[in-house]
């Protein structure tokens, strides 16, 4: 069966520090991968999605970037965090455009 992992679960970082969140999927090949952000009490906002290694589409201009170095690995990064980057970050995978399966999420607080 398929499994999706995200880490860390929680993170507290000062403004201006770098960020690296990792997501890995097991049990499937060539999945579509996604990064979403959820502000408190809000819906999910798509940040990036990828249909293959090295193929990244950005949905929202910001100081975040994403990379897909391996088929089942998706990384979200920032060189300098802003206060507005605080939120709940969710990684998801899917086969084609069917239902997406989400990881447990990372709760990021920028202080």
């Amino acid at each position: 069966s398929q499994t999706i992992h995200q880490w860390p679960a929680t993170l507290v970082q000062p403004v201006g520090s770098p960020l690296s969140l990792e997501c890995t999927v097991e049990g499937t090949s060539n999945p579509n991968l996604y990064w979403y952000r959820q502000a408190a009490g809000r819906g999910l906002q798509l940040l990036f999605y990828s249909v293959g290694i090295g193929q990244i589409s950005s949905e929202v201009p910001q100081n975040l970037s994403a990379s897909r170095p391996q088929d089942r690995q998706f990384i979200l990064s920032s060189k300098k965090l802003l206060l507005s980057d605080s939120g709940f970050y969710l990684c998801a995978w899917s086969v084609a455009n069917y239902e997406q399966y989400f990881g447990p999420g990372t709760r990021l607080t920028v202080t």
């Binding site: 809000r42 999910l44 589409s57 455009n97 069917y98 989400f102 447990p104 999420g105």
Partner: protein, 112 residues
């Protein structure tokens, strides 16, 4: 652009009551998917159902049922005999040619 509206911000019911969560979407796509997800307090989104735009059959799964009406662009979700474990935020994202478009969700609180 696609848009999903979940007008009910928060609903509170007493256990065993039936409750319907409303979802209305806007799109110009002819082919698309609609989904329902549950987000319990732990934060992880749990997939509940997918519906194709060309399939308007209603679906029932245990205490859950879904009513898709293309004519009114609605995809409503009913929980029969609600339970405390149903307390969560529910989303009905739209899926077109790329990733999902989410509304703001409906928080359901089931009181014992």
């Amino acid at each position: 652009a696609q848009k999903v509206t979940q007008a009910q911000t928060e609903i509170s019911v007493v256990e065993k009551e039936d409750v319907t969560l409303d979802c209305v979407y806007e799109t110009r796509d002819t082919t698309y998917y609609l989904f329902w997800y549950k987000q319990p307090p732990s934060g992880e989104l749990v997939f509940l159902i997918r519906r194709n735009s060309f399939d308007e059959q209603n679906e029932i799964s245990g205490r859950y049922s879904w009513n898709f009406q293309k004519s009114t662009s609605s995809f409503n979700f009913t929980i029969t005999a609600s339970q405390v474990v149903d307390s969560a935020v529910y989303f009905c994202p739209y899926g077109g040619r790329r990733a999902l478009t989410f509304g703001s969700g409906t928080r359901l609180q089931v009181q014992p």
